[in-house]
Amino acid sequence: MAIDEISNRKRFLAGDNVYLPHIAVIEKIIEETPDTRTFHFSFKDEKLRREFSFESGQFGEFSIFGVGEAPFCISSSPTRCDHLEFAVKRVGRVTSALHRLGAGAEIGFRGPYGNGFPLGYLEGKNLVFIAGGIGLAPLRSLIWNVLDKRDKYRKIDIIYGARSPADLCFTYDLDSWKQDKTVNMVTTVDKGDDSWTGREGFVPQVLEQLAPSAKEAVAVVCGPPVMIRFTFPVLAKLGFTPGQMITTLEKRMKCGIGKCGRCNIGDIYVCRDGPVFSYAQIRDFISSEY
């Protein structure tokens, strides 16, 4: 298995009860796109604020009291711990309620859960980050993590795409990565508008044109399921082995800790065994229900 390093999964339980959330305060809200917002938050409890740690790729169960819980990955990097961030696309009940919150509002947080990206495995490699839409949220945590320890890694390519220029998230990050001489950053949109001077085309096509070398490289792919489905074959064509392709899977996760049952793919529980998997693992799943 490519991912041999399972994160050590630090635990931060409130009152010894895994279901009891910590109270966190929203400090800042960034309007990423018309339907996506980033929330900066910090724990109310000072000790937890100091001690909390997590790994890129891990997620939490976020809640609004009276509305309910939903899982989101932590989109900030563990290397920048003065506050935490998560990004939310407005798609349902809980996400709409989150979008109605203002700075100062209190939310609940349980976590971090899941395995996180295999940093040890990425060390010393050429990295190709491929993301679509809000899929950049888990990946930007990893990208900043890697950039903050830049000398541990080799060449870095980032390919990011969205439906339209207005759908590009984290444009402030895109700008700084574009300026970073140690990063090869490519942004693309499915369809540009009048003012768009950048690249047009779907992420898998752009990947094929750029053709990053598979030699001593790892590709990390996050985005909508269709994008991932079309990206893997392109990577394979470029010579990436299934073990060199890493992604995160999305499921409706309620408990986050392997109990409520709904996130399974056969005997794999995405909340506990994932959400980060290599394609080598995914290929061996009993079920194709992902």
Binding site: V67, G92, E106, R252, I257, G258, K259, G261, R262, D267
Partner: protein, 340 residues
């Protein structure tokens, strides 16, 4: 371990005695649906009519719905308060061997990795006193699953009906202690134990339904992608979820908030993999189709759970067969897996 006996007419007194230490639950049809409810005194007639409850006893440990914590808001923000357990020590009297075994299967899930506070606080406060079955249903198939009407796995005490008396056997240390402290127990004679054995043998023979579970995980694995088979199997299921809600080994749950009269609380309630929304995400649903959900239910019990925990997560209690409104029958599925 210790073996004793008690006369059936002493039973009410014994339950009264245990009620001083425990909330004692016994089988009852008070609500119209056979289930475990609080011992009211006197009436032990369930011993004669009771074959098994409709609602599984898991309800006493993993309730259909439970409050996890409440929340309130003041100038300083939110305050959360863990909801107190609704019962102290409890004793489930008359639980059937299959249902005790089922709890042992749930224990594994709720204990592993992160311990489930709510499940564990009830479970650790629960004593299980089983009565071996004498009159199993036609739909019971526990003997196919290396269990049977006299299986003691998961129980603290096991009672065997020998006519006017029960032979009582301590299975765990906790069971032995309880037995030693209880009044009105007499030592079981060799003759009593022989009668108990005979009673068990007869009961075992009465379980006639059979499923072939040999090489089960692998055989199911081979049929996993046989969509045609699963579509055929699932055709008449109406996705009502009764089989899962009544199954003693099903544990899927949902977490939701409710607010009323200035008081809010987070609840856990049972959920079902038979429901389409169970896995539904805003854009995708990995088990949108009924056949995928039926497959998940069967395979969770007979393939996924065994892969993770080395036991088939079905006790053969037969509830899902007896109580399905369209007569969907898991034994027929298991006995018709292609390629056997």
């Amino acid at each position: 371990m210790t073996v004793k006996k008690i006369a059936k007419k002493e039973l009410a007194r014994l339950l009264d005695e245990w009620s001083r230490q425990f909330s004692v639950l016994v089988p009852s049809v008070e609500t119209g649906v056979a289930q475990m409810t609080g011992w009211q005194g006197e009436d032990t007639s369930f011993v004669d009519w009771y074959r098994n409850t409709i609602l599984p006893p898991k309800d006493a440990i993993l309730p259909v719905m439970e409050e996890m914590f409440s929340f309130s808001k003041n100038e300083d923000g939110y305050r959360l308060e863990m909801s107190p357990p609704d019962s102290g020590r409890q004793l489930i009297f008359g639980i059937r061997p299959c249902d005790a075994r089922a709890l042992a299967m749930l224990d594994v899930v709720f204990k592993q990795d992160y311990e489930d506070t709510y499940y564990m606080r009830r479970r650790l406060n629960t004593v299980l006193v089983g009565i071996g079955c004498t009159n199993p249903y036609d739909s019971c198939f526990c003997t196919s699953l290396s269990s049977g009407p006299s299986d003691t796995a998961g129980l603290d005490l096991m009672l065997t009906d020998i006519g006017d008396e029960f032979v009582i056997e301590a299975v765990t240390e906790a069971g032995r202690e309880l037995l030693d402290k209880s009044q009105g127990m007499r030592p079981a004679t060799a003759d009593d134990e022989a009668r108990a054995r005979e009673s068990r043998d007869i009961a075992n023979q009465r379980v006639t339904q059979n499923v072939d579970v040999k090489k089960m995980p692998d055989r199911l694995l081979a049929a996993f992608d046989n969509e045609e088979y699963w579509r055929k199997i699932a055709a008449k299921c109406i996705s009502c979820g009764i089989c899962t809600l009544l199954c003693p080994t099903c544990y899927c749950f949902d977490i939701n908030d409710e607010v009323s009269d200035n008081r809010g609380a987070r609840y856990r309630s049972l959920d079902s993999c038979a429901f389409c929304i169970y896995t539904k995400m805003p854009v995708e649903n990995p088990r949108e189709e009924k056949w995928q959900r039926v497959r998940n239910r069967v395979c969770h019990k007979y393939e996924f759970y065994p892969r993770l925990f080395d036991t088939i997560a079905c006790t053969g209690c037969g509830r899902c067969i007896r109580l399905c409104p369209v007569n969907w029958d898991i034994t027929r599925t298991l006995n018709s897996i292609p390629g056997q």
